[in-house]
C-alpha cells in the first residue's frame, strides 16, 4: 500500500527527496540518451546514404 500520506510527503521523501529525485532524473536522462543515440546515428547514416546514392545516380557512376 502507498507509503506516503500525501503527494507532498511523497515529493519530500522525509528530507531525502532531492537525493532520490536527482538520482532518478539523471538515470532517466542517461537511459533516454542511450536509446536516442543509436536511433539518431541510424537516421543520419541512412540520410547520408540516400544522398550519396541519389547524387551517384545523377552523376551516372552507379555503385552496385
Amino acid at each position: 500500500m502507498f507509503q506516503f500520506e500525501s503527494l507532498a510527503a511523497f515529493i519530500a521523501m522525509g528530507g531525502h527527496g532531492p537525493y532520490v529525485w536527482i538520482s532518478y532524473a539523471v538515470t532517466l536522462l542517461t537511459l533516454i540518451w542511450l536509446v536516442i543515440a543509436p536511433i539518431r546515428g541510424r537516421r543520419r547514416l541512412l540520410k547520408n546514404l540516400s544522398h550519396q546514392s541519389r547524387s551517384a545516380v545523377t552523376s551516372g557512376e552507379e555503385r552496385s
Partner: protein, 249 residues
Amino acid sequence: MARFPEWFHRLGAPKTFYSMTGKWLPWLAGAAAILLCVGTVWGLGFAPQDAKQGNSFRIIYIHVPAAFLALAGYYVMAVAGAVGLIWKMKLAHMVLKAAAPLGAALTFVALFTGALWGKPTWGTYWVWDARITSMLVLFFLYLGVIALHYAYSSTEAASKASAVLALVGTANIPIIYKSVDWWYTLHQPATIKLTQAPSMHPDMFKPLLVMIAGFYCFYALVLLMGTRTEILHRERRTRWVADLAKTGY
C-alpha cells in the same frame, strides 16, 4: 575451425542478424518499459522505508541494477571481443563497439547514484567505499577500451586492439575487486558496506528484482540497436544497405 550449429553462422552474417533482430526490438522495448515503470513506481511509492537510512535507500532500485549491468556489460564486451578475435566474426566486433559506451554509461549511472546515496548516509558525496571504488576502476577500464577504439584510424585494428584490452581487463576484474575489498577492510574494517543487501524485507526486495529484469531488457534493447546501427555503418557499401536507404525503412 570449431564446429558450430548452423544458426550461429547464419546469425553471424550481419545482414541476417540485422533482419532477425529487427523483429525482437519492439518486444524488448515493451518489456523494458513495463518492467522499469512498474519497478520504479513500486520501489519509490510502495516499498517500505528502511529503518536506518529512511527513504534515501530507494536509490538502491537504480544503483544496484546499474552496477549489476555495468559489470555484466564488461563481460559481454569481452566475450564479443573473444569471439571476434578467435573466429574472426566481424559482427562480434560490432557488438563490442556498441557494448562499450553502453557499459560506460551504466557505470556512470551507478557511480552517480552511489555518490548521491552516500550524501545522506555518510554526509559526503564521495566515500572510498569498496564497492564504489571498484565501480570507479571499472569505469576507467571502460574508458580505456573506448579511448583505444577511437585512437586507431583503421576500424579493423581498432576492434581487434580493444578486444585484446577487453579480454585483459576481464582477466583483471576479479583481481581488482578482491584487492579493493582487501584494501577496504584493511583501512575501515567497521563501517557497513554500501549496497550490501542488509537482510532486506521481502517487500523491499521484490521491486529490486523487477528493476534488475527491466535493466537487463533495456541493456539488450540498446545493445541490439547499437549493433544494428554499427552494421549499417560497416556495410554501407553493400547493396542491401543502399536499398534500405532508398526505402527509408
